[in-house]
Amino acid sequence: MRAALAATTLLLALTALAACGATPQTTLEPTTEAARQARDLMVFVFWAAAVVFVIVESALVYILIRFRRRPGDGLPAQTHGHTALEIAWTIPPTILIGVIAALTIPVIFANAQPAGADAMRVRAIGHQWWFEFDYPELGVVTANELHLPVDRSVELQLESDDVLHSFWVPRLRGKLDMVPGRVNRFTIRPEVTGTFQGQCAEFCGTAHALMKFTVVVETQAEFDAWAAAQLAERTPPSSELARAGEEAMAAGGCVACHAIRGTDAAGVLGPDLTHVASRAHIASGILANTPDNMRRWLQDPQGVKPGNLMTIPELTDDQLDALTAYMQGLT
């Protein structure tokens, strides 16, 4: 029991520590109203629980020490119960539970408020094992990197193409599942610019651990510029090597799953690659988008991300160089 008490102290210290360490997915540093409300509730219930914990566990330890058997103990008084006491001690837990419920319920309903008419709509579609983001009002389709303007409500429409996934960016909002055959909606109103890390939170098969994404919150001007760039067709290859890459892509069957606007590639099974070089990560948030990583990914996708559904023939060094150069040029 003493261990348990020490452990609680440790827990508190560690929670404080965790809050200032490098924990990009922490729930304790919210940047939106919804995430703040969840954090405040969590902190309140934690302290309430901590008080209960300390009282009850100390009482338990006290009783064990105070009433331990000593030599010469006679038979203790045989009490069978005490009705008034038993009724009385149902009251504090009931009150505490009532308070927690009273604080919780308004937040549940606030979180369920539909977005206003001025909100931007974005479809987020879960796939094994990547995220597709579709801005129907803008005509932009991208993958694994969600761009949002700051201080504007966004209604996310969560869907799934295959199995269950869950959309979770802890610093922006609690998670909501992506359920095949259903559409879940929730609203995010980012208040701070920056990059926020998210991850699929519902087990969705072998590569579940490697299904990540980022949310880039930027000023309206930056966002507009980004959207305009995304709408453009692909940047034509600028070197011989990159041109060879574009041909290798068509010849190798990549176009069956991937789309690159401005070419014949119009596949829909994998991420749209028209502006793949504009994204900070590849393979759904698990690798920085560098030439080396791109080459590694194209060479051995199963080694980088076991279970993923990309089928790719074995490539020669020349083909790898060409494809990497081509991808890096798709800004």
Binding site: A22, F67, P306
Partner: protein, 611 residues
């Protein structure tokens, strides 16, 4: 000596001994079978856990492949719930219920054997999958549509679904048996409100099982239809709904949590009074709060689904019911503390485990209240916070409680005490290891580490807590090795315990250790909750209990005690069932083979002479 009429096999040879175990219908021997098998599966599930902890000890580790990792967490959960903890509770039901209510066996001894054999074969069947092309890999909760043939074309899911169906039959049969036993076979004077609290919790658990299992049974039938007959109950493409599976699973799955915890609560409710030499404080409240927990437990299942998007009304309703269940749970804890208060507490291993259970279960209950608030849940659902919470309930609660029970009743069934010093070492190491394993996992969840991930990168702030957690898990493993050696040595060389080493108050302490095959030479007459105390303390109550103890062994005039004959039909019938299930995986001919065996053994069972 009372004459016992059974056609017992010759136990002087190995074959005879084996045959006697295979055909036994004695509740005490079936309990031993349950106990040994369940501890074996507990070790297997523990090894699966250790492999996962090794893989997660450091970031970006390649010790276990992503594919294998999904099998490990699926089988760890499935094994611990269905093959280790439930059967451990079943071992205690078998050991104790007849002894505690003053009966000579359960109501249906052959059905009891059948429950065990179905469980054993079902457990083996499910684990054969590791050798037959891949183990189940969609999680112990098997969320649709990941379980559809489209996403898992091998038989991994079929092993899981068929295995759970088989185990469900075992659990339901055992529950019917214990309900009938407890309702009908109590000794004269043993009213419901005089039953030991463990018997109360057994009764409630049995009712929970027969009401909760049908939900998962239906779910699994629909899943098997989807997989074998191309229906689409859970597939949106065919008009089905994956969320339906979640409802069916958790309508079963949440009561299942109480199925796992109530027996341990019963054990604790019987250990504490003995250790403190005081009756259980507020007995009726403890019993009825168990019933209340069970009842409300059927109305909280969508708190597992707060992130599914059921809407604010459903989330509010289930948040309230979930929080409400904390009240009867808290009341139980207060009653346990009041039982100890003012007592003369003997601090021996069973008491330490019982108190450890109370202390750790409080933490699981408090984190449960946190999870009951949907906005908090939306952040920490499907993270390591939930892993921590559920282990504080099922390990801190159930496992510690069950180990307390093992230390407490070990002398009753072996005639020897387990070594006290090593028992305390086991307790201390297990408690430290347990907290080291699971306390940091709360922080991992709050820091955003999802569950069911086979790896994590180095820059997330997850390293330290994962490393501590892995170290803790090996401390738990070490404590279990100490327990295993202690148990094996104590069976042969432990200090002889006599019949009543703890000064117990319930009926099992009035008979010899180990108990004779007929338990009670003379059925006792009961007129209080602690008949053994009454007899020992001469509290003016009946002398019948004392008579049974004093004269049972040498009463020449004792009439013959008729005990049920051994039977081999239970094991054959169970084999027939499991062979039929094999037919759906290996070759259709097994269906026919199994059905014939099933039919023949059913006839054999019916025609078997009762005398």
């Amino acid at each position: 000596m009372a004459t016992v009429t059974t056609t017992a096999p010759d136990t002087r040879t190995f074959a005879g001994t084996a045959w006697s175990w295979i055909t036994t219908v004695d509740h005490k021997r079936i309990a031993v079978l349950y106990l040994v098998t369940a501890l074996g599966f507990f070790a297997l599930g523990g090894i699966e856990a250790l492999l996962m902890r090794l893989q997660l000890a450091r970031p970006d580790t390649d010790l276990v492949s992503a594919e294998r990792f999904t099998e490990l967490f699926t089988m760890h959960g499935t094994t611990m719930v269905f093959l280790a903890l439930m059967p451990l509770s079943a071992a205690f039901f078998n050991l104790l219920v007849p002894l505690m209510i003053g009966a000579r066996d359960v109501a249906f001894p052959r059905l009891n054997a059948l429950s065990y054999w179905i469980y054993l074969f079902g457990g083996i069947f499910m684990n054969i999958s590791f050798l037959a092309g891949g183990a189940p890999n969609a999680g112990w909760f098997g969320y649709a549509p990941l379980t559809a043939t489209q996403f898992e074309a091998t038989h991994a899911i079929d092993f899981w679904a068929l295995g759970l169906q088989i185990l469900g039959v075992s659990s339901i049969l055992a529950s019917i048996n214990f309900i009938v036993t407890i309702i009908n076979m109590r000794a004269p004077g043993m009213t419901l409100n005089r039953m030991p609290m463990f018997v109360w919790m057994s009764l409630i658990t049995a009712f929970l099982i027969i009401f909760a299992f049908p939900a998962i049974t239906i779910g699994l039938v629909l899943l098997l239809f989807d997989r074998y007959l191309s229906t689409s109950f859970f597939l949106p493409a065919g008009g089905g709904d994956p969320v339906l599976w979640q409802h069916l699973f958790w309508v079963f799955g949440h009561p299942e949590v109480y199925i796992l915890i109530l027996p341990a609560m019963g054990i604790v409710s019987d250990i504490l009074p003995t250790a403190a030499r005081k009756p259980l404080f507020g007995y009726p409240v403890v019993a009825y709060s168990g019933a209340a927990i069970a009842l409300v437990g059927f109305g909280v299942w969508t708190h597992h689904m707060f992130t599914v998007g059921l809407g604010p009304i459903a989330d509010t309703a289930f948040a309230i019911s979930t929080m409400a269940i904390a009240v009867p749970t808290g009341v139980k804890i207060f009653n346990w503390m009041a039982t100890l208060y003012g007592g003369s507490i003997s601090i021996k291993t069973p008491l330490l485990f019982a108190v450890g259970m109370v202390a750790m279960f409080i933490i699981g209950g408090l984190s449960g209240v946190m999870l009951g608030s949907p906005p908090i849940d939306a952040q920490v659902q499907d993270t390591y916070f939930v892993v921590a919470h559920l282990h504080y309930v099922l390990f801190g609660g159930t496992v510690l409680g069950l180990f307390g029970g093992i230390y407490y009743w070990f002398p009753k069934f072996t005639g020897r005490l387990m070594h006290e010093g090593w028992g305390k070492v086991h307790w201390a190491l297990m408690l430290i290891g347990f907290n080291l394993t699971f306390l940091p996992q709360h922080l991992l969840g709050i820091d955003g580490m999802p569950r069911r991930v086979h790896t994590y990168p180095a820059d997330q702030g997850f390293e330290l807590w994962n490393l501590l957690s892995t170290i803790g898990s090996f401390a738990i493993a070490a404590s279990l090795l100490i327990f295993a050696v202690n148990a094996l040595v104590s069976i042969r060389r432990g200090q002889p315990s006599g019949n009543d080493p703890w000064d117990g108050g319930t009926l099992e302490w009035t008979i010899p250790s180990p108990p004779p095959v007929y338990n009670f030479a003379q059925i006792p007459v009961v007129d209080g909750r602690y008949p053994a105390w009454d007899a020992k303390r001469g509290g003016g109550h009946t002398g019948a209990v004392a008579a049974a103890t004093a004269h049972g062994d040498e009463d020449e005039d004792e009439p013959d005690i008729h005990m049920p004959n051994p039977s081999y039909w239970p094991i054959v019938l169970a084999a027939g069932m499991v062979i039929m299930a094999c037919g759906l995986i290996f070759h259709q001919v097994f269906i026919l083979l199994g059905a014939v065996l099933f039919g023949v053994s059913l006839l054999g069972w019916i025609e078997e002479p009762a005398a």
